[in-house]
């Protein structure tokens, strides 16, 4: 969908900041989240989870649980089939262990009972005989040939010899002659990095209500980023047809990528099928930490060569990501994103995906990119320090731009990196003075963005209002943005439009809300749906006026005769046309269906000032500014919210958040007390600067903005802390004991 060539368009509605449409419901407690659904005769579901990191399930005896008064169903993997499709089988096995438990917290049984208390009691009556197996949770340890094997036979042929079967896949990207590039360098720095697994930390735990009636028809209400994908997975696992399972997405209390798959939904449906009653399952926070999908942890080696003037001559990255107990493809995205910000003659990235006895990773905002770019941006910063170069000037000197052959293959079209760097350079933050123990860090960030399958219906109501039906849960303000784009195109006020998120029976397939795709893809589909409704309305006006359809134009929310030759008719507004639609051919609607491409990559630059307490190693973030290219900010409040939220999640990742495993392979911090997400008092205001370099692939120039902002904070913080204490840190999180240890070693 090409950018509208009347690019000098003056937007009337897009770019304004109306109050959020879900605000009142949310602040008054009326919004219905996953756990708010109830049904007559509903049972409480509860899940039995492995206390071990890795064990063979010798036997499960559920007889005592089944005999307990109030228990209506008990299920184990024996109550599920074995899907032929490998991906589907992995999803199912992650929801309900078959043969082996693969991580601490892995589900291996479930109960539906008349109350939560009875369900809990029944779980305690399930007797499991485990044969405990050796486990591995660290990525480097898991790659060694003698490591405990998490799953046999999952390694692809492209994985080289000498590695454990835990290494499931290998990838490689790049171009140019590395040796020649490194020969041209005046300084080459090689460093190794590690980052911890972090969790999205969404406020709302997973919850669902499943109902499967005797005639085989099912309904599932759940908290998800993608009801259609939930339907695909659940229908596949249960062996029912998609048309027979209607999935409705609840209001969502955060997802950040973590709600793009299923954990409890197939279990609730299986319990509902076995008990013949609706079953609700609500995860506890402990379960969320133990058994949903945090991001990968990583181990990385980076080598970059630079001339004395600051030009990068060659760059190389080796990335090793563990994604838990099932194969994943996250390292591919890290390997593609690592050097995206740079125009490089010689670049190579290699990646290895690795199995460990940890929960299967799920997407987390720009999955795979933050850690790789953290490592790259750390080495670039160290090169700048050692060569006494300005880190912003060096980024500008090497910045990718239109026409650059990217490190991962494509040649960039219009991109906003250079403009974003220039905005940071010109900003007062970059030249503000720093005091002792303070440091300033800079990092670029990048995300691909995505388009995908999208289907929108736009209905013109007879009272002149507009209803939009779309299929993507609103995790970042998309309903407001979609309404704004419809209002813009139709020429009517924003408050005449209401956008709702439909269930899977109401629309064609929509991809998951991921890849920062919704404002871009659903937005362009909405604009096209509006254009198709406009065409219908022009036709109705033509019919009323008795003139040719192509003699009618749409302007300022009205049909008008195209010129004096078409006839002298007063304009007819959308409301006037809608009011008489029953007499002119019936209801008026517009539709658009597309598998959208042209999402347009997004770059951001973050500046962070920190102060480190030299006696305790505590880091305080003093000032933080986000610069990002939004293409076109449809609702700037939400764009700023994405930029701020990404920065905050990245700050948490950089400073304190981590999955902590004991020697026994058990997760030690499955709660917000010891999994330290930052709280409001830990943070300064996050300042934002939106740049608008139109995306050539969208009628209004929109780019996705949701993921890029979590990418730069890791290196921005690490570079700031390293400069503040005068020692380079190469491991995240930079928790106070690590920082103090580095300070004391420095002496």
């Amino acid at each position: 969908m090409a950018f509208d060539q009347n690019s000098k368009r003056i937007f009337k509605v897009v770019g304004s900041r109306p109050p959020r449409p879900d605000g009142v419901e949310k602040v008054t407690g009326r919004a219905l989240y996953g756990a708010d659904m109830t049904a007559p005769g509903m049972l409480s579901g509860a899940i039995l989870r492995s206390p071990h990191a890795h064990a063979r399930i010798v036997s499960i005896d559920t007889s005592a649980a089944e005999a307990l008064q109030g228990v209506k169903a008990v299920v184990t993997s024996a109550d599920f089939g074995v899907p032929d499709d490998e991906f589907l089988r992995d999803v199912q096995d992650n929801c309900m262990a078959r043969g082996k438990v693969l991580y601490h917290g892995h589900a291996l049984g479930a109960v539906a009972a008349t109350s939560a208390a009875v369900a809990k009691q029944a779980l305690a009556l399930i007797v499991v005989d485990y044969e405990i197996l050796p486990h591995v949770t660290d990525v480097d340890a898991a790659m060694r040939p003698d490591a405990p094997v998490v799953q046999e036979g999952r390694s692809l042929e492209n994985v080289g010899p000498g590695l454990s079967q835990n290494v499931t896949s290998y990838c490689e990207f790049g171009h140019g002659d590395l040796d020649a590039g490194f020969d041209q360098a005046d300084l080459i720095i090689s460093r190794s990095f590690k980052t911890a697994a972090t969790h999205q930390g969404y406020i709302e735990p997973h919850a669902c209500l499943a109902s499967l009636s005797a005639d085989g028809r099912g309904d599932l209400w759940c908290c998800t980023q993608g009801q259609f994908f939930v339907r695909t997975l659940c229908a596949g696992i249960l062996g029912i047809e998609a048309s027979q399972l209607r999935v409705t997405a609840s209001e969502i209390g955060g997802g950040f990528g973590g709600k793009t798959t299923v954990f409890i939904e197939p279990v609730a449906l299986t319990l509902a099928r076995k008990s013949g009653r609706p079953v609700k399952i609500v995860m506890s926070r402990e379960e969320v930490f133990k058994a949903t999908g945090p991001t990968v942890s990583s181990s990385m080696d980076i080598k970059i060569g630079m001339t004395r003037e600051g030009r990068i001559t060659a760059a190389q990255a080796q990335l090793r990501y563990q994604g838990g107990a099932f194969p994943c493809g996250t390292v591919e995205m890290g390997a593609q994103a690592a050097f995206a910000a740079y125009d490089l003659a010689a670049v190579q990235t290699q990646g290895w995906n690795v199995l460990t006895n940890r929960p299967k990773e799920a997407a987390y905002r720009a999955p795979g990119a933050p850690m790789a770019i953290y490592a790259v941006e750390s080495v670039v910063d160290e090169l700048c320090q050692q060569l006494a170069l300005d880190p912003l000037a060096v980024r500008l000197m090497n910045a990718a731009q239109k026409g650059t052959l990217s490190s991962y293959g494509p040649t960039f079209d219009d991109i906003g990196l250079r403009a974003t760097l220039e905005a940071a350079q010109a900003h007062p933050h970059y030249s503000a003075p720093l005091r002792p123990n303070q440091g300033r860090g800079l990092s670029c960030g990048f995300w691909f963005n995505f388009g995908g399958n999208t289907c929108v219906s736009l209905n013109i109501n007879t009272d002149g209002t507009v209803g939009i039906t779309e299929g993507n849960p609103d995790i970042g303000g998309s309903r407001a943005s979609i309404s704004l784009m419809a209002a813009e195109e139709l020429g009517i006020p924003y408050d005449k439009v209401r956008t709702i998120v439909a269930d899977t029976s109401s629309l064609g397939y929509n991809d998951v809300t991921d890849g920062s795709r919704v404002t871009f893809s659903v937005g362009l589909a909405t604009i096209e749906a509006a254009r198709s409704a406009i065409k219908v309305m022009c036709g109705r006006a033509a019919r009323i006026w008795g003139i040719e359809e192509d003699a009618v134009i749409w302007e300022d929310g009205c049909a008008k005769p195209a010129g004096p030759n078409a006839g002298a008719f007063p304009p007819m507004s959308l409301a006037e046309i809608a009011a008489v639609s029953a007499n002119t051919g019936g209801p008026i609607a517009g539709h658009f269906e597309v598998n959208a491409d042209g999402a347009g990559v997004s770059f951001g630059v973050h500046l962070a000032d920190v102060e480190v307490d030299p006696e305790t190693g505590a880091t305080k973030v003093l000032r933080y500014t986000v610069f990002q290219d939004a293409g076109k900010a449809v609702h700037p409040d939400y764009v700023e919210g994405q930029m701020q939220g990404g920065a905050v999640q990245g700050i948490g990742w950089a400073l304190n958040e981590e999955y902590i495993y004991g020697a026994d392979g058990r997760l030690q911090n499955a709660g917000f007390l010891d999994y330290r997400t930052p709280v409001a008092s830990d943070l300064p205001n996050i300042d934002t600067v939106i740049l608008e370099i139109p995306n050539p692939g969208h009628p209004y120039g929109v780019r996705g903005v949701g993921e890029t902002p979590i990418v730069p904070p890791l290196a921005a913080l690490s570079n700031a802390v390293s400069r503040a204490i005068g020692v380079r840190l190469n491991e995240l999180p930079m928790s106070p004991p690590k920082v103090l240890g580095a300070i004391m070693q420095r002496g």
Binding site: K120, E286, E615, T616, G617, A618, L655, N656, I660, Q668, N669, F672, L673, D674, R676, P678, V679, S681, D682, S735, P736, P737, L740, G741, M744
Partner: protein
């Protein structure tokens, strides 16, 4: 599960003493309710002590203050007398939990929960506070320092409950301070902590001191050598260095997810030094 709400401490003690199963006392509930919800404890009896006379009050007594067992952190923070006399105790109590939790959480609950990282306990020990205990055999007084027995345990015997803690009177030129280290600024638990209470004479010389560390041993640690290093000094750098060294020598922490032995030991000394200087400044302002 039975829930009882006795009117007197004696009745409460009887209920607790007579319960054959697991009994828990409920005041603010900010520990016990969380533990129950998490499935860590399932009591057979919950004794809510908030109906006991005076248990929710702060009373002046012999120039000091008697703080009822059900007095919340928020209530304590609004009491001008206690705030003036024992600012370190108040700041410690007010670090327990969030603003919402402050409306419920009590110092006595914090003490009886038995956590080595309890915020109010080092400050109470530095203040030489005394707990009043009612049990099946009557009432006794016990220094707060002697209440903790180890992680999750106290020296209270079956049927005993603390009804109040007493903060004694202070001379002119005396003040206290409490500091803790947490990776987050709020909603966190001390990785190491220090409370210092001291008295300055007319010349500004430290004539009395108590230095107490938290989260660096199974129990709260009263470091007599650290206090001795301050007494007779104006807290000049060598005196502070000696106190810091004494504090670090007294640390016997563990490595765990919240911090390492080395980190806790190092930071305990830093916090003690900073708390001593704050207490000195406060005491100087009063004399």
């Amino acid at each position: 599960m039975r829930y009882e709400r006795p009117q007197t401490a004696t009745q409460a003690a009887q209920l607790l003493a007579n319960e054959p199963g697991l009994a828990r006392i409920l005041a603010g509930g900010t520990d016990v309710l969380v533990q129950m919800k998490a499935g860590m404890v399932t009591p057979d009896l919950v004794v809510d002590i908030k109906k006991i006379a005076q248990i929710g009050n702060i009373q002046s007594e012999e120039g000091g203050y008697r703080i009822g067992a059900a007095v919340s952190g928020a209530q304590l923070g609004e009491h001008a007398g206690v705030c003036a006399q024992w600012p370190g105790v108040v700041e410690a109590a007010q670090l327990i939990g969030s603003t919402q939790v402050q409306g419920r959480a009590t110092m006595v609950g914090n003490l009886c929960n038995g956590s080595p990282a309890a915020d109010s306990v080092p400050a109470l020990v530095a203040a030489n506070a005394v707990a009043r205990i009612t049990g099946p055999n009557g009432t006794r007084d016990c220094p707060v320092a002697d209440i903790p027995a180890g992680p999750g345990r106290t020296t209270l015997t079956k049927g005993e409950l603390i009804t109040s803690v007493f903060l004694p009177a202070r001379p002119q030129g005396a003040a206290d301070a409490y500091l803790r280290f947490t990776p987050r600024t709020e909603m966190d638990i001390a990785v190491a902590s220090a409370a210092v209470s001291l008295t300055l004479d007319a010349q500004g010389r430290c004539c009395e001191a108590r230095v107490v560390l938290g989260a660096v041993a199974p129990r709260v640690v009263l470091v007599a050598e650290a206090a001795a290093a301050l007494i007779g000094t104006h807290l000049e750098p060598p005196a502070l260095d000696a106190m810091v060294a004494a504090c670090r020598a007294a640390c016997a922490p563990i490595d765990d997810k919240r911090g390492t032995v080395a980190f806790r030991t190092q930071v305990a000394g830093v916090l003690a030094k900073r708390a001593a200087v704050i207490a000195q400044t406060r005491a100087g302002a009063k004399s």
